[in-house]
Every structure is written in C-alpha cells, then in structure tokens.
Symmetry: C2
DNA sequence: CATGGACAACTGCTATAGCAGTTGGCAATC
DNA sequence: GATTGCCAACTGCTATAGCAGTTGTCCATG
C-alpha cells in the first residue's frame, strides 16, 4: 500500500520553475501542511511521496530534513516520518520565537540599512498607506510581506534570514485573519511600520528592536495566536 | 586534482558512533570550521569530501545543506560550495541572535519546567558552585553546557532546540576565553544562573527571559564578542 | 598581443538500486 | 485464550552512476 499522502493533490508551483526539485518538494509539502491538507500524525514515506510527486526519493528526503528542522515533521530513524501537531500552544511558541528574531533583525537593519534599502522600505510603506486607505487586505498583505523581507535582507545574516523564512510559513495560519479581524488593526499596523522606519533612520537598534518586537506580538494577539493577558 | 579539503586530517568522533553518516559528517565539518582548520573561502566539493571521509556523496551533501542553514558555508548552485567568513561582525550577530533565542527558551522553560527538570538544573548548579570554588574551568564549562541544554529541553520546542544547538557551535570561538578572562567572571555567571532558576521557580517568563538575555549578552561581552558600549 | 570560442574538467543535482534496521501480523506453542 | 517467536513488508539510510550546468584553460583567429 502506498503512503496515506498519496491521495493528496498538490497544487502546482507558481512563479519560477527553475527551482531545484528538492526546493520545490519542500515548498509543496510545507504549504500542504500549513493548509491542513496533511493532518497531524499522517505518516509520510520518502518513496511514497517521491512517487506522488513524480521525482526521485533523494530530493524528497532533503525536503523532509528541512521540514524537520522547521519543526513541521518528526522523523524516527529507520522507522518513519509523521506530520507534527500544531496546537494553539505550538503556534504561540513559534510566534514568540518569531517576535524575538524579527526584533534582532530590526536591530541589525537599523545599524546597516543604507539609503537604497531604506528607500525601498518607504516605497512599500507608500503602497501600504494606499492599501490601508482602500482597505485592500490582499494588497496590504503582499506589501507587508515585502516590507518584512526587506528588513530581513537589510539585516544581512544568512542564519537569521533562513530562520525567519521558515517561521513565516507558520504565519499562514492566521495571516489573513489578523488583517481582517478589526477595522482598527490596519491603521495601527501601518503606524507601527512607519515608526519602525523612523527608528531605522535614527540608527537606533534598541528602539527598532523593541518596536519590531512589540509590532509582531501585537499582530499575533490580533490574530488570536497569543493570548491577551500574556507577554 | 582533489579538493583543497582533502589534505585535512579530521579528528575521529568521540562518544557514540551509532550516528548516521550524515550526522557524523556534519559534526566533523562543523568542528573543523570553527577550529579554523578550514579557512574561510576554502572550496568544498561533495565528491572530494566524500572521498576524504570514506563515505558516499549523499551524506556529505546532507551535511553541507545543514551547514548552509547554519550560515557556515555558501553554496552556489551548480558551481561550488565555500566556507563562509567569520569576522568579528558576524560573530557578534550570531551572539545577539543567540541571546534572543536563549531568552525565548528561558521564557518557555519558566512556564513549563516541571519539578524534575528544575531539580536537574539545580543539580547542575551545585556542580557549578563546586567548580567555581575550585576554579575548575573545564568542569565548569561542561556543567554550563548541560545547564543550558536542560533549559532548551524544558522549553520543549523542536525549532528552538535545533536553532540553539546550531548557534552553540559559534560559541566555540570564545567559550573558554570567556570563562578564563576575568576572575570575577566565574562567580558572576554563577549568580546569574542561580537567579535564572529562581525565576523559573517563580514561574515568571518575562523575568526569566530578561535575565537569560542579559546573562548571554554579558558573557559575550566578557569574551569580547560584543563591544562594551553597544547593546 | 589581445580576443573569442570550443573543449575538457570540474561542480551540484538527481535517479536507481540495495542495505539494514523497525514494525506488525500470523502461526506455533504454552 | 494468551504469549512468544518469526517472517515479510515496510521504513530511513547509503552507495553508485550519470545528468546538466559552470568554469577555466588552451588554441585558433583577428
């Protein structure tokens, strides 16, 4: 019998297809997991998945190792790999980890971002102002993503970039929800982003770190990932 | 001609040898890099390294992917892999990232550590008290390592554990240095550890996070990784 | 001497095959 | 009926071979 994942219909990868098969398999699997198409506890077989995806077992294995590092699957050596669970507690953990790392990234960005990078951020701010005024949540979400990516790039640390990219996936659970939750949420987030860039302009790492941290935590609360009472 | 890494003599792996070849290759390479035996910019070939280690190319490749995630090597697709550089700036970055993640781990540990885990930590504290009194830096370093590992385990997050384990490797650059630097350093670190456990006992995540963060940052300053003036 | 251009020797990446543990069920035994 | 041992069908892991890009060198050409 083939793996339980065999039945799954994976959505094709959009955008550039020049990716390696391992990278493609990683993204497909990651997306399938966060979308709930692969329930927690589902057994995953390297061979079975390779058959489903129409590729060899090696790239699949590589993808699974990355997912394991991301905390999305658990591998028992010589036994099997299963999809990890994503209860509220775990999502809250990942959110707090992300807040800490985003804060560090902001601190580094405040020290290093050059004028070109800051200009790009401000360009995204302009887009976000428009989208906020128009209440265009889809456009806003995209601009928000690009803004944070610019900060990560400005930080200029490979480990940090990689970690934050991995953590971003967990955000899919509540991203749209957070933006649509409250009418007050949109302008509040915009103001925080603007304050962030001001901190960058002032070259104030500590201020930038604290603001980014607070921003992420508050947005997580708005999405219900973090409880109101707790830090 | 074989790779430049071929000449290297790798130290055998101590302890358990039941590890997978990929895991073994990862540790060997990581240690060789942090020890400076593989200079920055050194070209690494999957095949060449496999030949040197006497294993196949697949485990080597897997090790290199992990090292890339750790920020220790850079891989240009279809071109080559080289050892990354570790200037003072980069080490400072990694230290700040580690401080942030250790802080989050401490916060989670404060919420979840049960009596058994706390007892284990206090057992390590006792060892550290002895070692500090005897100025036995080697014993102290080992106990210190175990103590932090206990905190990471108590946090109970796979991603966090993996990340901190990776970051720990960077600490090799200055670990011994930090402990031997000042006579005042040892008792100071001990006091901080004790304060940390008290915060755990009080179930105060915010206090634990702040104390852990301050502890890591101060120890990094003692080792010269972070400048005195900066955060 | 400077300049392309092709070829050979790399590189990372993927496919196939087979090894060695682990697991679960079925049959023989108590 | 409960228990134990065994065997077949898995599992992740590793080895070998070959693909497809990239790179540098050497020779022909201007």
């Amino acid at each position: 019998m083939a793996s339980a994942a065999t039945d799954l219909v994976f959505r094709p990868l959009e955008g550039q297809d020049a990716l390696s098969l391992a990278e493609g398999a990683y993204r497909r699997l990651r997306d399938a997991i966060v979308r709930g198409e692969l329930a927690a506890g589902t057994k995953i077989s390297e061979r079975g998945l390779a058959l489903t995806l129409g590729i060899s077992a090696q790239p699949v294995r590589e993808a699974l190792r990355r997912l394991e590092a991301d905390g999305m699957v658990l591998t028992q050596p010589r036994s099997g790999t299963i999809v990890a669970e994503f209860g509220p507690d775990r999502l809250a953990e990942m959110g707090r980890i992300r807040a800490a790392l985003e804060g560090t990234a902001a601190a580094l960005a405040a020290e290093r971002a050059d004028d070109a990078a800051l200009a790009l951020m401000e360009a995204q701010l302009a887009v976000m102002r428009d989208a906020t005024a128009a209440a265009d949540t889809a456009r806003l979400a995209a601009a928000n993503e690009r803004f944070h990516a610019l900060v990560h790039a400005a930080a200029g640390n490979a480990f940090l970039l990689r970690s934050l990219t991995s953590l971003r996936a967990y955000d899919h659970f509540n991203r749209v929800r957070a933006l649509e939750s409250t009418p007050k949420e949109l302008p509040k987030a915009l103001a925080e982003h603007e304050g962030l860039v001001k901190a960058f302009r002032k070259r104030d790492p500590e201020l930038a770190e604290e603001r980014m941290r607070a921003h992420v935590i508050r947005s997580l609360r708005a999405g219900g990932v973090l409880k109101k009472g707790k830090k």
